[in-house]
Each structure stands twice: as structure tokens, then as C-alpha cells.
């Protein structure tokens, strides 16, 4: 079966079986511990990323339950105020920085290279590095929390509460460095995705044939690139204020308290769309499969995503309506906050039109999309309410806002994500998740979510502020809070059932074929799970729905080498072949680099000099990373 592979052997000369064997020899990740630590396969890293993000979701969920336990009754003493403040901070931080953003990027790390028809993500070693950085950041936050050093200043870390005077101890420093870890990893993945989408698309996949999830991730990645530097600047300034006595946020010495809020929300508002746009992409990619027709309004959908991306940078003041900014500015930001309703509306209308002219098939992923419609649109409506400056003065920082953003983030992003997991699980594992359990999961989560979060709107209007660890008996909030807490338990049961189904199905699920849903995009053109090299021969694309329009025959390109890791670079606009390019082999250097960076960042919490001596191992690791190894991949 294994023919001798010569130098410069091409795939065109080989039959399917020897081609598979040859490609496996160069693309497979080596077995054992070294292989696991050195892998640069986007699928292995993507799976790891997704699994880790869901672990953090579960952890964050446990914290939510603890909070609901405390708030179930007035004047409850289940948690001390100090612990409660750590818990809500770690819950928010964990959900935003360790779950929502990473899980969306993780789905992209796995899916984008398959959907654009290439063999690995661009910069695979950077991809490995980003996962290690993310993992360390998560361990840092949770490790600190477990030893009672968790941050207690909210996920937004407003100064002066987080500043040197009021945020005593190392808790805030840990929060700020956790930001550095997760932002480095998020930025790295964003760069990989941008370059993968722009330069590694299958021949013929011109801009108007890119799957909508890939478009969404491209826009998202640009938002990350433009938005995350703001939180890096902010957290660096905060660390400097705390550790070396700068005065960025100290009004007594010419600094400004609101500077923090401007910088944080310049990142923080786009952050919402960093989480939501991938979900838009998932729905746009899943929906056609279950209504049996191509998406309606491809171009408007792409333009809507791009304009959401641009508008998202004009909204940050929307979180600062009660800080007393000039009236004119407030009116401008009301208008721009309202304006984003238009592109969001276009997305909804296009999906409705797609369903209107389609023939729905009620499988679990589709049920999650229906749940999305119900919940997300309500979140969008309350979003219009908080976008109004005068209304926001009543709603801001009350439980109404807690309800609003959970409707948007859980309804708008987590429901599509879970639909996406049910949809792509067969591709990830080769096995289907259970349809019967899946319907229970979707139903339970949908009902329990609404029971948990809808009453919070009312609580907010009844005057209950956010982030309070308890409330007095005579406030009259007890009944609703108890109801919310009980519903939260059901919600947790729904998630538990989901985890059970995922773990069980990974081993015992029905085997899935290459394309179990009869979908149209390229990730379904290869085996489930895909081989290490993704595609034995790179697919050639002739329409936006390639698998629906080629009558069971996949047009492919030949001529790549099989004796080294080789993939194809194409032009940005028309995806015309430009060059054969090599892709790196497994290497341990990204792990060393991540560890060296960790030493530097953790050391800097204790002494600023750590930045100096910590730079030495980082430099050594990076030289090791980039020094050529003299393999065939080096040839040119």
C-alpha cells in the first residue's frame, strides 16, 4: 500500500490509498506526550480550545449558581460580601475572556481552514502558542480565585476601586495580567484567521463564495485587531499605576478616572460583537442546511456584518450615559447606538426570508436557531431601550441590564453556539449527538433561560441594582429572586444534560458519514473527523454552495507535493492560485515561548524588573521558534 515516496513526489501521480498514506506520513501529529505538546494541527488545537472553553463555561456556571443561592432570599448569609464580590467578578471575567471570545475563536480555528478548503491554519505555531497562553491565563484567574486571591472589582475593573489606593493586595494585578494573557491569545488567533481567509482559500472561492461563517470570522478578527489593543493599553496603564506609581487614573495628579472607562469600553462594546458576529455566521451557515435552500441575501448579510463591525466602534459611550458627559455627545451616541439596529434588523429579515421560502427540518441545531429568534430579538429590543440616554438613566446598572445582556449573549451567541456544536459535532468526532437528548436540551435551556432571566427585567425596574450581594427584606424583591434562583437550577440541569450528551456521544454516538446533514459547504467534503491533512486534494470552488451544485463530484486541484507539508496560497479577491507554500511541522518551541512569557508576566506582578530579566528566556524561546530547521518545508 505504501509506495515509495520520492523527493518532490506530487499527489497527481498517486491513487487514493497511497496518497492518504503519504500525506499521513507528513501531516499526522506524532503520538505520545511530545506529540500532544508539539502539535500544530488546527483541528487538535481547535478541539482543545473548544473543550477548555466549555470547561470554563461550566466553572462560570457554578459561580452563577452560588450567586443565585445567595440571592434566593433577602439578607442571606450563604456567602460573605468579599467572596460574593470575587464570585461575580470571576464569573463575568471567566465568561467573557475565558469562554465567550475564546470559544468563538476556537470554533473558527477548527472550522475556517476546512470551510475555505486548506490544510492548516496560517501560522500554526502561533496557533499552538495562543492556546497555551489562553490556558495559562485561565489557570491564573481560577488558581487565584481558589486561594482567595480572586479579583473583586468586577469584570470591568473601574478605577479608582481597582487602582493602587482602593484595590489593595495582588487581586487586581492578577486580573490585569489575565487580560494580557487572553488578549495575546485572542489577537494571535485573529491574525491567523485574517491571513487564512485572505490567502489560503481554495482556488475559485472568490469573495462572493466565502461561506458566511468565514465572513463573520473575518469581520470579527478585524474587530479584535482594532479593539483589543485598547484593553491592553488600559490594563498596562492600570498595572503601571499600581506597580510603579504612574498617575494615568489619579485625578489628584492630572490623571482621569473616566479615561479608564473610555479605553475599556472602546474595547468592551466591540467585544459584544466579537461574541455575537460569529453566532450570526453560524446561523447563516446552519440555517440553509435545515430549510433546504441557499441563504437569502448573501450580499446584504455580508454588508450588514461589515457595518456592524464598523459601527461597533462608535458605541462605547453607551456604557457611560450616567457619568455626566456633555449632552451633545450623548445625543450622538444615542443615535449611533440606535443605528446599529438597522444592520441587525437586516440579518433577522434575511433569515426570516430564507425560512419563509424554505422547507424546515426540525433537527436539534434548527431548534436552537428558533430559540435564538425568540430570545435574541427580545435582547435586541431591550438593547434599544438601554441605547436611549434618558431611559438608560433608569435602567443602567440595574438588574434590567443583567437581563438584557444575558438575553443578547446567551440568546444571541450561546444558543447559536450550542446549535453549532450539535451541527458540527459529527465533523469534530465522526459521531452524531443524540437527537432525542438534543431536543430535551434545547427545550430545557430555552424554557429555563427565559424563566431565569425574564424576571430580572422587572427586578431592575423595581430598583434592584446590579452587583449587590444581598438586599433587605422590605425591598419586596424576595419572591422574584427566589423564582429566578429556582429557574437557574433548571437551567444548570439543561447544561448538565448537554455536557452528558456531548461526552456520551463522543464515544457511543451514531457514526456520521462525511456529510450527515446534506450541507453545502466544504468542511463536509472530507471525512468525519477529517484526516490530519484535511483534503487529499484541495477542492476547487465554483459556487457559494459547492456541495449542492456539483452532482456528487468534487472538482479538485492537483500538483501539490506529498513529501512535505504543502498548501496553496491564493489571491485575496478571486482566490487564484499564487504559490505552493509549506506549513510548519510540530514543534515544542511555542510551548517554551508561552512558558517563558508566563514567567515574565507573573514575575512582573511582583517586581517591575521581571520584565527585564524575563525578556531573556522569552528571546531565547523565540529564536528557537524562528530558527530554521533545515527540513523540506524550508525548501523554496
Amino acid at each position: 500500500m505504501s509506495a515509495r515516496i520520492q523527493d518532490d513526489q506530487r499527489d497527481t501521480d498517486l491513487a487514493d490509498a497511497p496518497l492518504d498514506a503519504a500525506l499521513r506520513r507528513v501531516w499526522d501529529t506524532p503520538r505520545g506526550v511530545w506529540g500532544a505538546l508539539a502539535t500544530v494541527d488546527h483541528k487538535v488545537i481547535g478541539r482543545r480550545y473548544i473543550a477548555t472553553a466549555f470547561v470554563f463555561l461550566a466553572f462560570g456556571g457554578v459561580l452563577a449558581l452560588l450567586m443565585r443561592w445567595q440571592l434566593a432570599r433577602p439578607e442571606s448569609r450563604v456567602l460573605t460580601p468579599d467572596l460574593y464580590n470575587q464570585i461575580f467578578t470571576v464569573h463575568g471575567t471567566s465568561m467573557m475572556f475565558l469562554f465567550a471570545v475564546p470559544v468563538m475563536e476556537a470554533m473558527a480555528v477548527y472550522l475556517v481552514p476546512l470551510m475555505v478548503g486548506t490544510r492548516n491554519i496560517a501560522f500554526p505555531r502561533l496557533n499552538a502558542f495562543s492556546y497555551w497562553m489562553y490556558l495559562v491565563g485561565g489557570i491564573l484567574l481560577w488558581g487565584a480565585f481558589l486561594v482567595d486571591m480572586g479579583p473583586d472589582i468586577g469584570w470591568f475593573a473601574y478605577v479608582p476601586l481597582a487602582g493602587p489606593q482602593y484595590g489593595a493586595g495582588k487581586r487586581v494585578d492578577i486580573w490585569a495580567q489575565m487580560i494580557t494573557f487572553t488578549e495575546i491569545s485572542a489577537l494571535a488567533v485573529a491574525v491567523e484567521i485574517v491571513v487564512t481567509v485572505l490567502k489560503q482559500r481554495a482556488p475559485g472561492m472568490s469573495l462572493d463564495r466565502i461561506p458566511l461563517f468565514v465572513w463573520a470570522m473575518l469581520v470579527t478578527s478585524f474587530i479584535i485587531i482594532m479593539a483589543m489593543p485598547a484593553v491592553m493599553v488600559a490594563s498596562t496603564a492600570l498595572i503601571l499605576d499600581r506597580l510603579v506609581g504612574t498617575h494615568f487614573f489619579n485625578p489628584a495628579e492630572g490623571g482621569d478616572v473616566l479615561l479608564w472607562q473610555h479605553l475599556f469600553w472602546f474595547f468592551g462594546h466591540p467585544e459584544v460583537y466579537i461574541i455575537f458576529l460569529p453566532a450570526v455566521g453560524m446561523i447563516s451557515s446552519i440555517l440553509p442546511t435545515f430549510v433546504r435552500r441557499p441563504i437569502f441575501g448573501y450580499l446584504p448579510l455580508v454588508l450588514a456584518m461589515v457595518s456592524v463591525g464598523i459601527l461597533s466602534f462608535g458605541l462605547w459611550v453607551h456604557h457611560m450615559f450616567t457619568t455626566g458627559l456633555p449632552r451633545l455627545g450623548e445625543s450622538f451616541f444615542t443615535a449611533s447606538s440606535m443605528a446599529i439596529a438597522l444592520p441587525s434588523g437586516i440579518q433577522i429579515f434575511c433569515w426570516l426570508a430564507t425560512i419563509w421560502y424554505g422547507r424546515p427540518v426540525y433537527r436539534t441545531p434548527f431548534l436552537f436557531i428558533l430559540a435564538f429568534f425568540f430570545t435574541f430579538i427580545m435582547g435586541g429590543m431591550t438593547g434599544v431601550m438601554v441605547a436611549s440616554v434618558p431611559l438608560d438613566t433608569q435602567l443602567h446598572d440595574s438588574y434590567f441590564v443583567v437581563a438584557h445582556f444575558h438575553y443578547v449573549l446567551v440568546g444571541g451567541a450561546v444558543f447559536p453556539l450550542l446549535g453549532g456544536v450539535y451541527y458540527w459535532f459529527p465533523k469534530f468526532t465522526g459521531r452524531m449527538m443524540s437527537e432525542r437528548v438534543g431536543k430535551w436540551v434545547a427545550g430545557l435551556l430555552f424554557a429555563a433561560f427565559n424563566f431565569t432571566f425574564f424576571p430580572m427585567h422587572v427586578l431592575g425596574l423595581l430598583g434592584m441594582p446590579r452587583r449587590v450581594y444581598t438586599y433587605q427584606l422590605d425591598m419586596g424583591w424576595g419572591g422574584l429572586n427566589l423564582f429566578v434562583s429556582l429557574s437557574a437550577v433548571v437551567l444548570a440541569a439543561g447544561f448538565l444534560l448537554f455536557f452528558y450528551d456531548a461526552v456520551r456521544s463522543a464515544r457511543h454516538g451514531e457514526p456520521a458519514g462525511d456529510n450527515p446533514w446534506g450541507a453545502a459547504t466544504l468542511e463536509w467534503a472530507t471525512a468525519s473527523p477529517p484526516p490530519s491533512y484535511n483534503f487529499a486534494r484541495l477542492p476547487v470552488v465554483r459556487s457559494a454552495n459547492p456541495l449542492w451544485e456539483d452532482d456528487g463530484v468534487l472538482p479538485v486541484a492537483g500538483g501539490l507535493r506529498v513529501d512535505r507539508r504543502e498548501l496553496l496560497v491564493t489571491t485575496v479577491g478571486g482566490a487564484l492560485p499564487e504559490a505552493r507554500e509549506s506549513s510548519p511541522r510540530p514543534t515544542i518551541w511555542p510551548l517554551w515561548s508561552a512558558l517563558a512569557t508566563t514567567a515574565l508576566l507573573l514575575g512582573s506582578i511582583l517586581t517591575p524588573w521581571a520584565v527585564v530579566w524575563g525578556a531573556v528566556p522569552v528571546t531565547i524561546a523565540l529564536i528557537g521558534w524562528f530558527w530554521p530547521g533545515g527540513r523540506k518545508e524550508e525548501e523554496s
Partner: protein, 200 residues
């Protein structure tokens, strides 16, 4: 799935150069990230300046000398840098080696002069918000000079090894040269900000 070979890629080059190179795009993406960072830091400087009743706060404007020296050195370095990029495009190993050594010198010189520039700010980072802003702005840019300089050293060393004569290496040199242009060009608005705004 049945496959039908419709495109032949065998005659394509074995690595992309210029805009056909993935690293070129990666470098551009990182420049976008860092450019955003610089823009934000300048915004912080201007924002704090707009709030303060007097700017600089309790300090004289920074002295012209060292900063202008750094600026001139950086601008002068563009000449060998552009030449280096051309030599790399022409894959002339001998000239590229010489060019990298020259660039190593041109990278080190402004870094040394920068020490005096920090002193010429005449304010400490912990004096007030003005001091914090100028130190962070200058520090951020210095970090970029430093990292690019290290890259130049490593690349120069690499070009004297067996790995040198490879189109990939010349591509790396070109990307490195592009990044140095970025470091020099981002300095100009920072220079204008640090030395111009306090004198307005």
C-alpha cells in the same frame, strides 16, 4: 466523495514572496495591531492634555536635542533600509549581509541616544499624569525599536549560516525591512506629539 482534477498546481513557485507570502500578511496584521496601540496611546496623551489646565503639568517642555537626534537617525536609517530591501528582492546575499550589519548599527544608535531622550523629558513617570503619558509613549516606541533590533541581529547571524541562501530568508529580510519602516514612520506622529504639543 468522487473527485475530478480540474486544476494543475505543479508549476507554481514553492513559496510566495511579497503579497503572495503569508508572513508578509502576518507582518501587516501585526503592524495594524501595534499601529492601533500607538494611536490609542497618542489619544490618551491628547485626552489627558485636554483635561489639564496647563500642559505639560509642572514640567518644562522636553528638550529638543536628543529627541531630534533620534528622529534624524531614524530617518537616515530609512536609506540603508530601503536599499537592504531591494538587495533582498534581488537575492544578493553578499549585499544583504552587509546591509543587515549596517541596519544593526542604525538600530543600535537611536536606542543608545534614547537614554538621553528619556532624561531630556525633564519629568519622571511618577510625578504626574503628564510624566506617565510621555514615559509610556516613549517606552512603547522604544520597545518596538528594541524588538526589531533583536530581530535584525538574529537575521544578520542567520545570514552567515548555511540557512542563508534561501528565497525564504530574503523574504524574511524584506518583511523585517518593512517592519523597520513602520517603526520609523510611527515615530513621526509621536515625535510631533511629544515635542510639539507642549509648545503650542
Amino acid at each position: 466523495m468522487k473527485q475530478d482534477v480540474v486544476v494543475d498546481l505543479s508549476d507554481l513557485p514553492m513559496n510566495g514572496s511579497g503579497t503572495a507570502s503569508l508572513t508578509w500578511w502576518g507582518t501587516v496584521a501585526f503592524m495594524l495591531i501595534e499601529g492601533t496601540g500607538f494611536a490609542l496611546m497618542i489619544s490618551v496623551y491628547l485626552y489627558l492634555g485636554s483635561l489639564a489646565p496647563a500642559w505639560p503639568i509642572e514640567a518644562p517642555p522636553p528638550e529638543w536635542g536628543p529627541g531630534t537626534g533620534v528622529t534624524l537617525l531614524l530617518l537616515a536609517s530609512l536609506v540603508p533600509n530601503v536599499l537592504l530591501s531591494r538587495w533582498a528582492a534581488a537575492r544578493d546575499l553578499r549585499k544583504v549581509r552587509a546591509g543587515l550589519l549596517i541596519m544593526a548599527v542604525f538600530g543600535t544608535a537611536p536606542l543608545v541616544l534614547r537614554v538621553w531622550e528619556f532624561m531630556a523629558l525633564d519629568v519622571s513617570w511618577d510625578s504626574n499624569a503628564y510624566g506617565s503619558a510621555v514615559w509610556m509613549l516613549l517606552g512603547l516606541h522604544t520597545t518596538h525599536i528594541l524588538t526589531d533590533l533583536l530581530e535584525t541581529y538574529v537575521l544578520a547571524a542567520l545570514m552567515f549560516t548555511r540557512h542563508a541562501d534561501n528565497p525564504r530568508r530574503f523574504g524574511d529580510v524584506q518583511d523585517g525591512a518593512m517592519y523597520w519602516n513602520f517603526v520609523v514612520l510611527t515615530w513621526l506622529p509621536i515625535y510631533a506629539c511629544l515635542y510639539g504639543i507642549p509648545r503650542l
